[in-house]
C-alpha cells in the first residue's frame, strides 16, 4: 500500500523535478555565456542526489551535468574554486560519463577523474561505487 502511494507521489514529483532541471539548464547556459564554467558545474550538480528515482529525471539531469562538464577547459583551475562538498557527486557523474563510451566525453571525464582522485582520494571513488541508494 505504502509502495503504491510512493509511486503515485513520485510521478507527480517527476514533473516538478523535470521543470527544475529545465530551469537549471537555462541558468547554466547563462553562466557559460558569462564564462563561468565552475559556477555552471556547481549549479548542475546541486540537488542531484536526493529523491531522483525516475529514469527520465536522471537522464535529464545527466544531460545538464554533461553540458557543464564538457565546458570545463581549465581542470586545475576548476578545483581551486570547487568546494569539497561537490566531490562525491562529481565522481558519480564522472563514472556515468565514462560509461557512455563516447570518446570526447570519456577524454574529458578521465582528465577530471585524475585531478579529482588526487584531491579527494580513493575514498571518493569508493563512495561513488558503494552508494546504491542514491544512484544517479
Amino acid at each position: 500500500m505504502m509502495a503504491a502511494a510512493e509511486k503515485f507521489v513520485e510521478a507527480d514529483n517527476a514533473e516538478a523535478i523535470i521543470t527544475r532541471i529545465e530551469h537549471k539548464s537555462r541558468k547554466i547556459e547563462s553562466l557559460l555565456k558569462q564564462n563561468k564554467p565552475v559556477e555552471a558545474l556547481k549549479t548542475a550538480l546541486e540537488g542531484s542526489s536526493h529523491m531522483i528515482r525516475d529514469e527520465r529525471c536522471k537522464s535529464a539531469n545527466w544531460i545538464v551535468v554533461h553540458r557543464a562538464l564538457m565546458a570545463i577547459k581549465d581542470v586545475e583551475g576548476m578545483f581551486s574554486s570547487l568546494d569539497p562538498e561537490y566531490y562525491d557527486i562529481l565522481m558519480k557523474y564522472l563514472y556515468r560519463g565514462l560509461s557512455t563510451g563516447d570518446r570526447p566525453t570519456c577524454d574529458q571525464c578521465l582528465r577530471i577523474h585524475e585531478k579529482l582522485t588526487e584531491r579527494a582520494g580513493l575514498g571518493c571513488i569508493l563512495r561513488s561505487l558503494a552508494d546504491t541508494v542514491n544512484a544517479i
Binding site: L110, E114, T117, E118, G121, G123, C124, R127, A130, D131
Partner: protein, 377 residues
C-alpha cells in the same frame, strides 16, 4: 615508530585475541583451527592447537577474568574452551544456525556472549548452571542481511550490531536470571530480550566494526563506503556524525578514550580519529609510517600502475613517475588489517594495541611516544 613488534604467524590471519595477562595470543591462521602462541624468551612458540571446527574460524574472544576462549566458525557452531590443567577442553554451544557464524564477543561480565551470523540473526548465549550447558537465545527478524560485528555496552545488557544491510542496531539482551534489572536508570526502563532500542540508517553500504566508547555514551562503526560514523545519545533521537575520509574503507575500530578512535582496514595502516573540544570528530593522521604522496596515485603506491594505464588513454604517453612496488613503502602491514585488539596493562597509562590482517602478521603498537595524541588520551 609506533609499531613496537611485528610477527609473521601465518600466511593470513582471520582474527586474534589475547590471554588475560597478554602472554599468549589465540589466532586463526585462515583455517579451521585456533592456534595459541606463547611468548617465550622473545620468541613466539605454538603451545596449543584447538581443533574442533570443520570450517574457517571467523571469530575468537578470550575472556579477561574467567580465562575462557569462545570460538565461532563458518561451520555454524561455537565452542567455549575451558582450561583444565594443560589442556583446553571444548564445550559445544548449540546455536541452531543454518548459516555461518561470523563474529563473537564476550559480554563485559563474561556471563554471556553474542554471535553474529550469516542467517541474519544474533545468538546471545548464557550458561545454565543446573544443566551445565550454554543456552542460546536468538534475536531474529530485525536484520535484513548478515550480521558482521557485535559489541557489548559496558552495562552488559545493550548490544550493538552491524550488518551488510547497511544499518547499525542496538538491542537489549536482558535475560531473566542472568541479568539484574536496574530500576530507574536512564537508558532503558523496560528492557525485553531482543527489543530493538535504535536502528541507525546512516550508511548506504555494508557496515562493519562497531564499538562502544569506554563509558558507553558513544558508538562508532564503519561503512564500506570509506566512512566512519560516530553516534551519541543512543535512544529515540540519536546524534550522529558522518565522517568521510579520502582513503580505502576500514574494517574494524577501537576506542582508546572518549575522544579517540583508531580504525584499521584496507589501507594497511591504523587511522586515528579524534573529537575536538566541541565534540566534532575528524581524521587526524595515520599511525604508522607512510610515504607522503604529493600527487595522489603517482608515488610508490600499489595503484600507480593501474591509474597510469587508465589516464594514459586520455594522454599521449604514460607519466614516467608511475613506477614499481606493489608494496606500500613504510607500512608495517602489507595487506588488509581486519582485527584490532586492546593491550592495556592494568594501572598503566600506556596505550598499547595489536592488529592482525590478511598478511598473516600480528603487529603490536604503542601510543606512548606519540606526543600529538596525548591530549586525546
Amino acid at each position: 615508530m609506533a609499531a613496537v613488534a611485528v610477527h609473521q604467524f601465518a600466511q593470513c590471519i582471520t582474527c586474534h585475541a589475547w590471554s588475560p595477562d597478554h602472554s599468549m595470543v589465540a589466532l586463526c591462521p585462515n583455517n579451521n583451527e585456533v592456534h595459541i602462541y606463547r611468548l617465550v624468551n622473545d620468541k613466539w612458540e605454538k603451545v596449543h592447537v584447538l581443533q574442533k571446527h570443520d570450517q574457517i574460524v571467523s571469530g575468537i574472544d578470550w575472556s579477561g577474568k574467567s580465562n575462557r576462549i569462545v570460538s565461532v566458525s563458518h561451520d555454524r557452531n561455537s565452542y567455549v574452551w575451558n582450561r583444565e590443567g594443560p589442556e583446553w577442553v571444548p564445550t559445544l554451544v548449540i546455536l541452531r544456525l543454518n548459516r555461518a557464524a561470523l563474529c563473537v564477543q564476550w559480554s563485559p561480565k563474561e556471563n554471556k556472549f553474542a554471535v553474529g551470523s550469516g542467517a541474519k540473526t544474533v545468538c546471545v548465549c548464557y550458561y545454565e548452571q543446573e544443566n551445565n550447558w550454554w543456552v542460546s537465545k536468538v534475536i531474529r527478524k530485525k536484520h535484513d542481511s548478515s550480521v558482521t560485528s557485535v559489541a557489548w555496552h559496558p552495562n552488559n545488557i545493550l548490544l550493538a550490531t552491524t550488518s551488510t544491510d547497511g544499518k547499525c542496531r542496538v538491542f537489549s539482551t536482558f535475560i531473566k536470571g542472568v541479568d539484574t534489572r536496574e530500576s530507574k536508570t536512564g537508558s532503558s526502563s523496560d528492557p525485553k530480550f531482543g527489543e530493538q532500542i535504535v536502528q541507525l540508517d546512516l550508511s548506504s553500504s555494508w557496515t562493519f566494526g562497531v564499538k562502544w566508547s569506554p563509558s558507553g555514551n558513544t558508538l562508532a562503526y564503519v561503512g564500506h563506503n570509506s566512512m566512519i560514523y560516530f553516534v551519541d545519545d543512543i535512544g529515540p533521537s540519536p546524534l550522529a556524525q558522518n565522517v568521510a575520509f579520502r582513503n580505502l574503507p576500514l574494517r574494524d575500530v577501537q576506542f582508546f578514550s572518549e575522544k579517540m578512535v583508531i580504525g584499521v582496514g584496507f589501507d594497511c595502516n591504523p587511522m586515528i580519529f579524534a573529537a575536538d573540544k566541541s565534540g566534532l570528530w575528524s581524521f587526524i593522521r595515520f599511525l604508522g609510517e607512510r610515504k607522503e604522496s604529493l600527487s595522489g596515485p603517482k608515488s610508490g603506491s600499489q595503484f600507480s600502475e593501474a591509474f597510469g594505464k587508465l589516464y594514459g588513454q586520455a594522454k599521449h604517453g604514460l607519466s614516467n613517475d608511475t613506477v614499481e612496488p606493489s608494496k606500500i613503502q613504510g607500512a608495517v602491514h602489507d595487506n588488509c588489517i581486519n582485527c584490532i585488539a586492546l593491550l592495556n596493562k592494568k594501572g598503566s597509562e600506556t596505550k598499547r594495541f595489536s592488529t592482525s590482517g590478511m598478511d598473516g602478521k600480528v603487529v603490536i603498537w604503542d601510543l606512548g611516544n606519540q606526543q600529538d595524541l596525548k591530549e586525546y588520551l
